[in-house]
Amino acid sequence: MSRFMSLAEAVEANVRDGDTVAMEGFTHLIPHAAGHEVIRQRRRHLTLVRMTPDLIYDQLIGMGCVDKVVFSWCGNPGVGSLHRMRDAIENGWPQPLACEEQSHAAMASAYEAGAAGLPFAVFRGYIGVDLPKVNPSIRTVTCPYSGEKLAAVPAIRPDVAIIHALRADRAGNVLLEGIVGVQKEAVLASKRAIVTVEERVEDFGARSPNAVILPSWTMSAIVVAPGGAHPSYAHGYYKRDNAYYKKWDGISRERDSFLAWMKANVLERGPEAFAEQRNRLNLATAGAA
């Protein structure tokens, strides 16, 4: 059963050194505030799983929290490279980084298999691709009915999933709408789950009966963290801060500028920094309307 707690308490209780952690959110609802808390608590030797490692994994990798990344696309979307992740892979700074590389289809299917309690996922993919030569987890199975060879990858079963959702009700149930990505599967595939939300409401009220809702008993901790997805966005609350993604390219390019930024904006700040960003972007939206 989930319970409401502070961000610091939630990470303290659920993320341990050496854990396999999946922070999901497909462009929308990326759990940046929670990622910063993991950095502040100086977790080490993590295996991070994520379809699209972007700024938050760049920051965790550059701060030395990560031994291995499991991913299918790494980049600053629409902008360019993740300089900290590249520095770790190409130069071993601040420490060497192991990579297990998949495709989106493979990872989406592997999360589904994890949520379903199956040992592996099967799909039609990786045809004519070299990745299986460098990733031994990519194998094939033969269809028992047709004899067709299909791709297989092991289920993803993280120790802990961390996601950001729109709101929680009083009982600790959680609602997501918009681009819902693979978060439901990530939570249901994991042993523990931390969910940060924009707000806590008494009751969800009128909603589509098909809205994505995670019942409270599927999660370990709920944290009210307004703006917690910034510079990603929260549908109906604030827009994606595209200017910030462009700015990150310059901040992260050099080790010194990266470390100085992390000290000023992460190590010496807390979740309140995200609420400030949400207020700023809300005002910007109101001003433009």
């Binding site: 696309w73 989106h104 045809i127 918009g178 681009i179 819902v180 990505g181 994606r240 595209n242």
Partner: protein
């Protein structure tokens, strides 16, 4: 009106002209997205654009920076989960054409989006295959 153009602009326009109004197109971000929306706003108004973030039949008024900008969801006919996107819509064969970018292409049309140099000691680490393989 400018009379000069860049090779990138020419490539984008040429690619746009290869798309038909009857196509259901799986759209990559960047140049493919620009070309697909150019087609939709000119000679192929009926084209259905699908982005891997789950947005189906989306009609963005502003070109998205990322594959999952809110604009794509706000203007979509429907938005599905990422596993549903890859299983039912792509693997299920509901598209007529896929339009993606790549860092390198060889004379056999093999694409490279992964690394330049040896895989385990790359000279340049590229973003990876993403939705392509």
């Amino acid at each position: 009106m400018s009379e000069s153009y860049t090779p990138t602009e020419m490539m984008t326009v040429a690619a746009s002209r290869a798309l038909k109004s009857s196509d259901v197109c799986f759209v990559g971000i960047g140049m493919p997205s620009a070309a697909c929306n150019l087609a939709r706003l000119t000679h192929a108004p009926g084209i259905t654009l699908i982005y891997e973030s789950g947005t189906i039949a989306t009609k963005p008024a502003i070109l998205p920076l990322s594959i999952g900008d809110g604009e794509l969801c706000d203007t979509a006919l429907t938005t599905v989960s990422v596993p549903e996107m890859f299983r039912y819509w792509l693997q299920g064969g509901r598209i007529t054409v896929g339009f993606l970018g790549g860092a390198q292409i060889d004379r056999y049309a093999n694409l490279n989006t992964t690394v330049v140099g040896p895989y385990h000691k790359p000279k340049v680490r590229l973003p990876g295959g993403g939705g392509a393989p």
